[in-house]
Symmetry: C2
Subunit: 336 residues, 2 copies
Amino acid sequence: MVRTRIDVGRVRAAREMIDPVFLDTPLYRCEALEPELGCAVSVKLETANPVRSFKGRGTEVVASLLAGPGAGPGAGSRAAVCASAGNLGQALAWSGRRRGLDVTVVASRSAPAAKLDRIRALGARLELVDGDFEAARERAADVARHDGVRLVEDSLDIETCEGAATIGLELADAAPAFDAVLIALGGGALATGVGQVLKTLAPGVEVICVQPLGAPAMTLSWRRGRVVTTGPTDTIADGVAGRRPIPVVLDDLLQVADDAVLVREESITAGMRLLLDHAGLVVEPSAALGVAAVLEDRDRFAGRHVATIVCGGNVDMDAYRRWVGIAPGIASGHGA
Amino acid sequence: MVRTRIDVGRVRAAREMIDPVFLDTPLYRCEALEPELGCAVSVKLETANPVRSFKGRGTEVVASLLAGPGAGPGAGSRAAVCASAGNLGQALAWSGRRRGLDVTVVASRSAPAAKLDRIRALGARLELVDGDFEAARERAADVARHDGVRLVEDSLDIETCEGAATIGLELADAAPAFDAVLIALGGGALATGVGQVLKTLAPGVEVICVQPLGAPAMTLSWRRGRVVTTGPTDTIADGVAGRRPIPVVLDDLLQVADDAVLVREESITAGMRLLLDHAGLVVEPSAALGVAAVLEDRDRFAGRHVATIVCGGNVDMDAYRRWVGIAPGIASGHGA
């Protein structure tokens, strides 16, 4: 029996706190991808919602509890701050706005402008810091201490894991159909949440985490069984680019992941291009990690049925066009 | 009381025959679109399924009945033929394959190659004809007569309307939220099906059909209250490009549509571009008709909340890149 911080009963309870717009997302075979990938592929699509990523599942749980009848008195108890590469901030802003919470998001100045614009548009206070995501994490903690408001820490806070884990409930319902689930690995909320639910409800399904070679901290930590921090990350997959794994999250990941693999940047862009050209899906780099993993190891997956969680679709369109637009169609059709 | 061929009780029964992969599709606000459109916009997303269009809802009903215990004896009763601009053919091939039906699709040689490739990949027999969709319709009828198999006629066959109408049930559940629904108008199954359900369950919602100026037959017919046929169509919206409205479908449309509007080609491509850039959605031209209608008449919709059905996402990527790719990002980022 796998024992982590995540409890399937609590995940079911978390589901009840989440706005249905984030639940029961599409899960379907994409046969048009299969000739290129050499295996059966299903996608779990987490981009067709108001914040275009799975993060709303977790922030709904956080915000429900903050705004609920059990919340403490005083203004501080109706306020929250988080560090974000963009998606968590958007989601927390969305969940907070509809409950009248005061939300502050701290992000790196280098986060995608599209994500930052949406955070502002959703009414959150946005504070930009120099440096990377880890610098934003430190600053968010300072703000929380100084203002006495709730610090929402992705992957560390159990609500973010339980929210993400509700994807696992939906996958488990369909699990007899597939052999492996490919999960983007960043802070670990998605991987540990979904992993725990699958290990409990569908233990035959292989849980494979995927991270960019340019941001390998959690994967290296999983492989060595202890926290490994790294220097600056170097990947377009901003959503998973952390350098300092959280020890308790690593402990959980060690329980639920069957494997953790690293993929090259060119495989990530190739995955994004495949998802666009053959599945009609606009995805951010982190959401193409699963497809990238298959591209790099076709033999491993040949003849099997994999499900991949398309976890987000927030991209700067200029960057996206560069990543996927360089195809035969462009040059010939440019002026048409 | 609106009386058409479509009965809400039968639509509810149809829902039970449809594979859940086509049901309960995402419906959500796209706030990022709203500054450009000047009104609140929700999308009903019918592209995140194995055939990337809403047509699976109808073909599931058709194929369930053909394969069911009530089906007649003989090989002919387990076979079907349809004419298709591409989406119906894909959907019928998908629904037929999983029930062991023998499916033939007749399409115009000028239909998008991406759609034709998928029809073949799904195991249907594909017959190409010169001429347009109307030529394909005639040929499909010949095949049905000659081979003694079921002819599936989109919009005329009540199952195709009832299947499409299940979208109306899902919209009606959320209907208090919006003032108008924008529906692509082609043969009329989608518009009459969804329209009838809304008029029954959410009569306060305005039902607005949208067709390209280059394929206006049904809209002109609706305006004049009698069937108007046209010469050759001239639109990139292949999915709605018919020339000969079906009289009984027009009768239904006259009952349920509050308005039918025509939009220019440049509004359709502008709509596709907006949906890509601000909502991350790859849509085929027919699926951008609703957004195009708002773009052409912002005053009409100002301050209101509209829902638009994103009815399909099957595009030839080369053509799609031409339609949406000519943006500032391309030129500067081409070699990056």
